[in-house]
Symmetry: C2
Subunit: 202 residues, 2 copies
């Protein structure tokens, strides 16, 4: 078992550490597990809020239904957050297995895979949020110069629910950004070979 | 002077390395310098292509002028790429100073600043590209469900030039993603203390 019993890789590879580094490790591991849980929960919330959002509006005798599939950016947001949630769940399960089995030593390729996965999810969720936010701005404010009209004054409830989904997705992408820095730290420290030198020179 | 005479920090802090690690270091430094030059050039190109783009269209007797300021996403793209180019130029100049002065030892806070700067620029340029690409899709294809009409069949030359700018900006953001991984490597390896252990255990 690792110090805390939270076997979050790649940080759970036993290395020689000073008490300060042990404390840093412990903080990184707890923060990593908490962030993965937050991302899983908020990713599901964002996908459900946007994916289940509909509103029917009657204009004269014609019924019009607003759905998230009307805008590709919202479809991208639902897919990206769904993937982020599933990926985080997978990582949480891996941590649970590691807790049950004790402190498993992971291979460098696995550490690289986790780092790469975190990077890809961070950039994809951020891109999805940016595209969805841009669409939301058009929907909320319109774009007078090109005669794109506001649609949120017609579909107020729909827009509010999408807004909630985008807010959750923003938190997911920010958490992924922090997490990708942590997995970079956990991976690249393995390539360090300057023990006892850095503190003297820097 | 560093091995190659390209004093790109934070990787130019002298540490004990095997020949393989020296080779890796050399590759990372050259790639870093090349990428910073690419980002500087393409960032300027993207900002100029989008920022100078205009087209006047006469509809009946009314003259309408398309400008990048008509869409906030394009303004964001110009600013983000301008900042990325200026930041890269600053980093290239720092490398030049380091080449002239020889192998300067940088402080850990500076290495952290470079890592943070690279991360911020990578995420900002990617968000700008995603938002601009979403606007470009609306402009090119329209959004029939909400009656937002295509505008690129009216402003073809304007859209093509913006397309070129977005293509350059995509390359800038991808280069920044790779660069931010490199600066993470250069920074976090300084926190490693497992020399000679990892290869045996992993």
């Amino acid at each position: 078992m690792s110090y805390l019993g939270v076997g979050v890789s790649p940080g759970n590879v036993p290395v020689y550490h000073s008490p300060n580094v042990k404390l840093l490790d412990r903080g990184v591991r707890v923060a990593e597990l908490v962030l993965r849980c937050v991302i899983c929960g908020l990713g599901v919330l964002a996908a459900v809020l946007v994916g289940t959002d509909t509103q029917v509006k009657e204009i004269l005798t014609i019924q019009k239904k607003a759905r998230f599939t009307d805008m590709k950016a919202l479809v991208f947001l639902v897919i990206a957050n769904g993937i982020a949630a599933a990926y985080s769940l997978m990582q949480i399960l891996r941590c649970a297995v590691s807790m049950v089995r004790g402190n498993v030593l992971f291979s460098k390729p696995l550490a690289w895979a986790i780092f790469s996965g975190d990077q890809v999810i961070a950039y994809v969720t951020l891109a999805a949020v940016a595209a969805a936010a841009q669409s939301a701005v058009f929907a909320k404010l319109g774009q007078q110069e090109v005669q794109w009209m506001k649609i949120c004054n017609m579909y107020g409830k729909f827009c509010n629910q999408v807004g909630g989904g985008i807010a959750s997705a923003v938190l997911v992408s920010l958490s992924m950004v922090v997490l990708s820095c942590m997995s970079a730290f956990s991976l690249f420290r393995l390539y360090g070979g300057n023990k006892g030198k850095s503190s003297a020179r820097w």
